[in-house]
């Protein structure tokens, strides 16, 4: 997964080319918003809004983001997209509250999956004390889900699907000796072949996660920092 392709990642594109190519930047921003709307929803919920209000707020925010290719008053040079998005959202919430205007519903975001937001939020955000933490946890989860989704897409053929399904429970399992034997038996393969397949799957998942993180930071050197920050967010009590 290339550091060589890094210059095309969305966030660096937004921060560098935003001024000269607003349309491209806006599209990239929209794609990132689509991926990370749930963290914003979680943030809004932790601030005390109900499902309906939180949905409205996030949708309005995203519509405005897409419309303007960014938000007036939010600094795009803060480093990572995660910080930028949260900063922009807070700014937007403040403005909205101050003007007490009704959140407008944007037509551009109708494809987003809002229907299960409450359910997913309830499932994932238990016990998070403050809105920022809720946001960061949901961010990490969304990023990982996206990477795993891409892995699934890469294993779309029936034989690969079967392999992925069989190896999925063992992807993170160290010292899992019986697992490989069971899978080999199930797939009619050898243990050695299963271990090799597992290794390659892990390597690919690792690349995909790093690529997803790379989309949200400005420099390749920040990937590990961002991963650490996300880990810390997940580790917090």
């Amino acid at each position: 997964m290339g550091n060589g392709t890094f210059h095309t990642t969305r966030w660096s594109l937004i921060t560098r080319a935003g001024a000269s190519e607003p349309a491209t930047a806006a599209r990239a921003l929209g794609e990132l918003c689509e991926l990370y709307w749930l963290p914003l929803y979680a943030f809004a919920r932790r601030q005390g809004r109900d499902d309906h209000a939180a949905c409205d707020l996030v949708q309005s925010f995203c519509a405005e983001l897409l419309e303007h290719g960014g938000l007036a008053g939010a600094n795009a040079n803060v480093g990572r997209f995660r910080n930028y998005l949260l900063g922009a959202f807070r700014h937007f919430v403040d403005n909205t509250q101050r003007s007490a205007r009704a959140a407008k519903r944007g037509g551009a975001v109708t494809t987003w999956r809002w229907d299960d937001a409450a359910e997913r939020y309830a499932l994932a955000v238990r016990g998070e004390p403050d809105p920022r933490q809720a946001f960061e946890r949901q961010w990490a989860m969304a990023l990982l889900e996206r990477a795993q989704q891409r892995l699934r897409e890469e294993h779309a053929t029936p034989s690969k699907q079967e392999l992925l399904a069989a190896l999925q429970p063992h992807l993170l399992g160290a010292h899992d000796r019986t697992g490989a034997a069971d899978v080999a038996l199930h797939l009619g393969s050898t243990e050695g072949a299963v271990r090799v397949a597992l290794h390659r799957l892990r390597t690919r998942l690792r690349e995909l996660i790093r690529d997803e993180v790379a989309q949200t930071v400005a420099e390749p050197g920040e990937i590990d920092d961002e991963l650490r920050a996300l880990q810390a967010a997940l580790a917090a009590p």
Binding site: L144, L172, H175, A181, E191, R200
Partner: protein, 477 residues
């Protein structure tokens, strides 16, 4: 993993993403754009590995439409014409190796400031990658180890010693087949002490944990048995996930269900090359046998824990210790000759004053010949028996429990007896006595020399050198 299914431990996934990729260590790699002009026949695709031996790229041969691994060796060494000559000579020999368990070399040469090898591309993982997820199962070891042994045996038959067997050099393809890579490169890159870049190469070789003791001591004086030691370390690591360092325990003390492998691994890890396996095919045979024993539930008896802890260097399972009856026929023949010769010799000594004075070669024994014979025969038997066992175990690697210093001691004692016999001939009229002893010793030495010729080992030098190494390694521990 269906959509909506809860994600796996998210922190673990982030941790997975943070672990360094296999290509993250080693020398800085030249970029593909930089290298491409040097290799017009190939399309360089990606960097796949870096290590002490060089940098590996995945590439595609235009005309043959074949994916290959392009390995660049240290750029500094190309300036040394001797190195280039040696490299070409070695590469030519390596290119002749044609075995399904050995990574084939398609081409080699120099390009720009690089020596390069074009090798078969193995689409899979290294054993190191697989071990990163924990130790392997006995079934895995049974699947892989015999393949490794076959490949090694083939190379050894072609007089090529690998010298750097370690999990990084063992590749497993997507079908689970095993291939050995980098044959002979350690020798090539480490041979010339004057070569620039050697230090870096040495550092690049990294951990000496896979090296046989004699290889650590003197890299130039190793034979194929050094590979068998390294193989033992790899087997130990495959079974336990750990390296056999210091006072290590047999694999069965670290992992369940691997007791059958204990004798094979421990014999491979003998410090003394003579006590190790002498051929890779023997290791393969015993690994297979261990698998069969494991499958039928007849594991070898457990090793007492105290023995494990106190005798790390000689910890064969009791089943490995041969009984006296298992000694080859010429050991018994030798003992018989000794017995007869001694008996005939001492029958004639019947007129010397005391036994002590007789032994000192002065005066005469007052006792009768039978008394003297009864006193001497067991001593001679014991002495030559020990000598026989020592020589046998050292020469044939029979795995007997004999201290490495014993052959030296026994041969020294034999020399003393020889001198004593010569003195006896000169000083007394007991000519038969002296001749008997000399004949006995000559018989033994001729037999010993025959064995030496057959196995081509520098007997005494090796014994003493081995003893020194053992002392040193014991001190290191």
């Amino acid at each position: 993993m269906a959509a909506g299914e809860p994600a796996q431990c998210p922190r673990c996934l982030l941790g997975l993403a943070m672990t360094p990729p296999p290509t993250a260590t080693g020398p800085a790699a030249p970029s593909i754009a930089e290298l491409q002009p040097l290799f017009p026949d190939y399309q360089l695709e990606s960097l796949v590995g870096r290590g002490g031996m060089g940098i590996v790229y995945r590439a595609r041969h235009h005309k043959l439409d074949r994916t290959v691994a392009l390995k660049l060796l240290l750029p500094d060494l190309v300036g040394d014409p001797q190195f280039v000559e040696r490299f070409e000579r070695e590469a030519k020999a390596l290119a002749k190796l044609d075995h399904p368990g050995i990574v084939r070399i398609h081409d080699f040469g120099t390009a720009g400031s690089f020596c390069f090898l074009v090798m078969e591309f193995v689409d899979g993982a290294t054993l190191r990658d697989l071990l990163a997820a924990g130790h392997l199962s006995p079934a895995d070891v049974l699947g892989m180890a015999p393949q490794l042994c076959d490949a090694l045996q083939y190379a050894h038959e072609h007089r090529i010693v690998h010298r750097d067997i370690k999990p990084e050099n063992i590749l497993v393809d997507s079908e689970g087949r095993v291939r050995l890579a980098d044959f002979g490169l350690a020798k090539l890159l480490g041979q010339d002490s004057a070569a620039p870049g050697l230090t870096r190469t040495r550092q690049g070789l990294g951990t000496p944990h896979y090296m046989a003791p004699e290889q650590v001591q003197s890299a130039n004086q190793v034979d194929h048995r050094a590979d068998l030691y390294s193989l033992g370390v790899v087997l130990y690591e495959m079974l336990t996930g750990q390296l056999p360092i210091g006072r290590f325990q047999p694999p069965s003390a670290k992992a369940a269900g691997v007791r059958g492998f204990d004798p094979v691994v421990m014999k491979s890890l003998e410090n003394d090359p003579a006590l190790r396996y002498q051929a890779a095919s023997d290791v393969g045979r015993d690994v297979r046998a261990a698998g069969t024993a494991g499958a039928s539930g007849t594991a070898t008896p457990p090793i007492p824990p105290t023995h494990r802890a106190q005798e790390p260097a000689r910890h064969e399972a009791p089943a490995e210790r041969p009984r006296a009856m298992e000694l080859p026929w010429h050991a018994w023949l030798c003992t018989g000759i000794v017995f007869l010769a001694t008996f005939v010799t001492w029958l004639r000594i019947d007129s010397q004053p005391t036994l002590v004075e007789h032994l000192r070669g002065i005066g005469s024994v007052s006792g009768n010949a039978w008394q003297v014979a009864i006193l001497h025969v067991p001593a001679w038997l014991l002495f030559f028996y020990a000598l026989g066992i020592s020589a046998l175990s050292t020469l044939r690697g029979a795995g007997l429990q004999v201290p490495a210093g014993l052959p030296l001691l026994a041969t020294s004692l034999a020399s003393v007896f020889l001198i004593y016999a010569a003195v006896a001939i000169e000083r007394s009229d007991e000519v038969t006595c002296g001749f008997g002893m000399i004949l006995t010793l000559l018989t033994f030495l001729v037999w010993n020399a025959t064995e030496l010729r057959r196995h081509g080992l520098p007997s005494l030098q090796r014994h003493s050198a081995v003893r020194t190494r053992r002392h040193r390694s014991a001190r290191r521990r």
